[in-house]
Subunit: 376 residues, 4 copies
């Protein structure tokens, strides 16, 4: 099977998420990184590209899109891993040239951009994949499959949370800096950076849509311009209720995304920091520990799992699953076929919902936590 | 040291909480149960009293209050463990005769009753102790002490939850029956039965007062007249924010009261089902496991702990601590002294706040989760 | 039901285990402590007895046995909670007068004494109960019942361990002092103090007898006269194999008794510090968490459990179960009936096996860990 | 940085460990797999090589070694991932041609082969790296560094265990088949397959050498020719003692390698299934949770860690670290320099010790668990 030729926008030296995307793209050997515009200036792009030994290094994403589109051996797909405010303009250049886009989340920094990006994706023959990477974890897939199968009955309550602690104090390094600048990050702070993951996870696992929300957002660190803590109540279509908590000021929480779903027949619990475990309680029976590739795990998890139970897969493998799903989808499109039903990845529409989530949180909070519809 | 003579109202055969109170009163050998009106009819009271071998058995609480008050060797204190709607009328009889009252929570089934009970307690020389038993756990005391000492700095976020699963389906046994009847339980279902514990714990541990709340209550089980799930956002005086979740329809949760408190210098986490552990993270340092009577535990926990670390104390010992604190307070009063500062127990005022919490939740939820002040 | 009149030998001020026995005897209201010879000198006995408000205080156990035996309202039973080397001589005085004995473990400090005590118990009409208290935990009973029911099939492997850390350094307080003195503790240090618990637990849970063992004992702390760490390999009758580790020099372990049993159909795991949980894996199925009084727990556990699941019972309740079983047995004997089959407590024969275990460990270790039969 | 050209021997279709090696070699982009003799027959080798899209496919390892050695662009290194009995003959072919060898564990199936392989490696200019992959986990490195720094003082007790359950019943698939055939696996069953990992881990983490051992090995499954459970007591040079348990018949254990080390100043605990955590207890202080790349983690762990704390790395990343260390070492050798001191990988001498461990276990067990020196 020949590898898909991949370019990258953003992700230069010291960018955590760029390195993650590169490793994720390599793990299953389906991509080959051949081109990049890795930084915001030509000089930095050149330096970062050379450090990675990239065959083709460009000054900026526009130049890359133009030239790669013209090459016979040009890239099939591009990963966009810049700060949020660049996502739309970069993605547009590739989509309009038929180059598939794999884009970091949240989709965009503004709702206006998000809607334009949806249109750009719809107008393009190319695929758009958003790396809500937590949907790639096998036991998240397992939870989704079990809920779809009715294993916990009709869903009543969804508790999702994503606390971190790295912004407990003022930080001045690069990762912190753009994430707390509304011009680059968007109006949401923790809500945009991690709340969108929690929101997406809740919808992905349950198969439910959020109808409206009431949010109380706070910037606890003095001088911070965006929220660093979000308390959100959720109402799902169909009557389920939920709570979502995201925080970057909760000491003792590194990256503690966690979801609990309760239905009228049982409950499920999953935590990102211990991702190989899924707890399932059929009501009235003992709690069961389902493990990745272990007894009780089904097809949906096995599809995206590499090694036996007890051999932990982690964040990078979950992220790699999004890339491998992307590869399957891209190869299907290349072959003129539809994307197979079992191939799952977050779409531009999921991305739009995430930006709508941030927007609704900000609006609700500004109105003293009144309920706001998601598609307000 | 001579034992305090104790009576009991309610707690007849099959009443879970009555047996708990009796064990709790015995553990530290400070009380002797000598009288009771254990059930709602004279016949049942007689039968239950005989089964326990009680020296003096009464038809009802009023008879007991009158006669015990006249005896030279009459009871010093009474435990009231009836359904909620009886608390006020029973307590009043004893308070007005100078008999100390140890009363189960929530304080009353209505806010009106709660206010009358506060007055009755204030008008009496007798003590009124409310068994918010979770405040008796040593590691809860430890958390409170650490927060008071500033170990986690200024508090920003309080996440408290109390999920159970026993009411996931319609239940017809006695415990379930009165708890889901608003006439006996009060307007709150899960909010009254367990939400008040969570609310009380949050205030006890942090030393903060809740200023207002926004609640979305739901009765998920068809036909249920009171909430079985409560989603509540909290705003504390001074600016801290919180979330409170109580549920009796969350399969896999037996009695999963849990609190997490985050300040600008660190975080604390405690879970009732594993009560001998307190997790403490000073920001920027590794998480630490403080154990009951183990390294890192302080005076406040040691005061209410009996055995060495690694020898788990449980629910009954935590409950017993409320009784032992009561005994210390009663003995101090008997000796004509003030209650020592280190003796801690929930008061009638804490009880009023709990009923205000339920009332505010019900009101807020009826108004589509708008903010309601606690002392509305 | 009238309470059993209880005396106590040992357990004066500052003796941890005496207080434990007293609380344990009170929890279920089956005993009343009325007499004591609580310390090794008449003066100390008097002081300790007065501090507890004991009705009858004696100079020593012999005086107590003689005088109580003569009283009409004399004690029915006595708790012996002295250092090990006193167990035999004290127990003998009561047994020969028909007073039931509840004795702390290990049975005696020497094998010779153990054999004499077995004879004394056999010659007496009174019962002899040894407080291997860990057999009182509900989930230990649950494990035993499941194994007896064949739930994990034929047993192959038993891993039992009991690490502590309190003797990591030289200690000079009372608890440490006599436990590290072979004249009072016996030839085994950690093997006698805690290894016997682990050994007893393994036998109790599995229903198997140890045929022989190979032990490598060490005194790591300079100057210590008895082992503070024991590594033991076990061979059970019938072919199962096991390992037993006991240590008092393992920092980070408070009282970490833990047992794991594996059969040809499944496995069970239990840990004393989290005693309300039992993990059960039927081979080829997900691991299940059985909780005290929760789904999946059976009759044997329910018999010795007081409160609902999620309300943790602890060390004192487990210890109390031994007392309550003793009360049931004593009442049956008083009524001229046999002890009911479901009433379980460790006997003098279990105690003998424990001393044989220590003796075999010491002998094996002295012979460079060659195999020694238990009844050598 | 140009990639190292890699060949592979073994690891054809359906071979779990071959796929693991390939992913591990890719994660950090330091290797490029260009040649293979992936199976035991030319036909299967061809098919497996084509399935992977390998540029150069050989009939057998000898052919591959000869032809690659002659090519200018021939492989720099080879991964040997065959059953154990082939390791020596395959490795020899590459070593004598100066091609670096990365070999799966255990080193060989016999002690004689192991000694010959040591000689072959010593006679070669090429490097020999053994994939005791668990030494690649960051928190294992952290533990090693802390012990070397004296953080837990002088080591007294080492408890290491490696239980699995997949061989609880007779299995007939390929992975099980050769592992239970002494001709291919070696005289040890569980001792060779996983006991060697546990043994290696204990030595790596503590920096200690095992002086002698006493082993009781059992084949519990009827008809099995090699041990499926090993109970081993260890004596380390310098006086520390240990226990090692390996089992493949312990239901509920997937791949539960775990090590606990206790010194006179503290303790450390690590478990492979939750590899991002290291528990550290300084004696007399609360237990601390050190996390990969989190607070309290040092340089040795950071060197081999890719992503922030809370983003779990797993088995494949730990395995990849052995490959990346190999790459660093190979590049240093290519550059005519010595291997940097911080670059750590298991050597042929570690491999010899592992085979000596198996041999000593088998010999000791045959002699009724008498002590056998490691270099017997």
């Amino acid at each position: 099977m020949s590898r898909i030729k991949l370019g990258m926008v953003g992700g230069g030296n010291d960018a955590f998420i760029g390195a993650v995307h590169r490793i994720a793209s390599r793990i299953d050997d389906r991509f080959e990184l051949v081109a990049g515009a890795l930084s915001s200036t030509p000089e930095k792009s050149q330096a970062s590209g050379e450090a990675l030994g990239l065959p083709r290094i460009y000054d900026d994403f526009k130049q890359m899109a133009q030239r790669e589109a013209r090459r016979k051996d040009g890239i099939d797909a591009v990963s966009i891993v810049t700060p949020n405010h660049v996502h739309y303009s970069a993605a547009r250049e590739f989509l309009k040239r038929g180059i598939h886009v794999i884009c970091d989340k949240p989709l965009t920094s503004t709702l206006a951009d998000a809607k334009k990006l949806v249109k750009a994706a719809e107008d393009s023959d190319a695929l758009f994949i958003l790396t809500h990477n937590y949907t790639g974890y096998p036991m998240v897939r397992q939870a989704r499959e079990m809920i779809a199968n009715g294993d916990i009955g009709a869903i009543r309550v969804v508790q999702v949370e994503y606390p971190q602690d790295w912004l407990t104090v003022e930080q001045d390094f690069k990762q912190a800096e753009w994430r707390t600048d509304p011009a680059r990050s968007g109006a949401g702070g923790s809500t945009g950076d991690i709340g969108t993951h929690a929101f997406n996870l809740a919808c992905f696992v349950t198969g439910l849509e959020v109808e409206s929300l009431a949010a109380d957002l706070t910037a606890f660190v003095p001088g911070r311009q965006v929220d660093d803590n979000g308390h959100v109540m959720l109402r799902f279509e169909g009557g389920a209720k939920g709570m979502l908590w995201c925080s970057q000021v909760a000491p003792g929480n590194e990256n503690a995304l966690r979801i609990r779903v309760y239905g009228d027949k049982g409950g499920l619990e999953w935590a990102q920091e211990d991702p190989n475990y899924l707890w399932h309680t059929p009501f009235g029976e003992p709690k069961r520990l389902i493990t990745r590739n272990g007894a009780g795990a089904g097809e949906a998890a096995a599809r995206v799992s590499r090694i036996p139970p007890g051999h932990p897969e982690g964040y990078l493998e979950g992220f790699a699953n999004i890339y491998t799903e992307s590869a399957d989808a891209i190869m299907a499109v290349k072959a003129g076929q539809g994307v197979p039903a079992e191939v799952l990845y977050p779409t531009v529409h999921d991305g739009l919902k995430g930006v709508q989530f941030v927007s609704a949180c900000v609006k609700s909070s500004a109105r003293n936590a009144t309920w706001v519809k998601l598609d307000h």
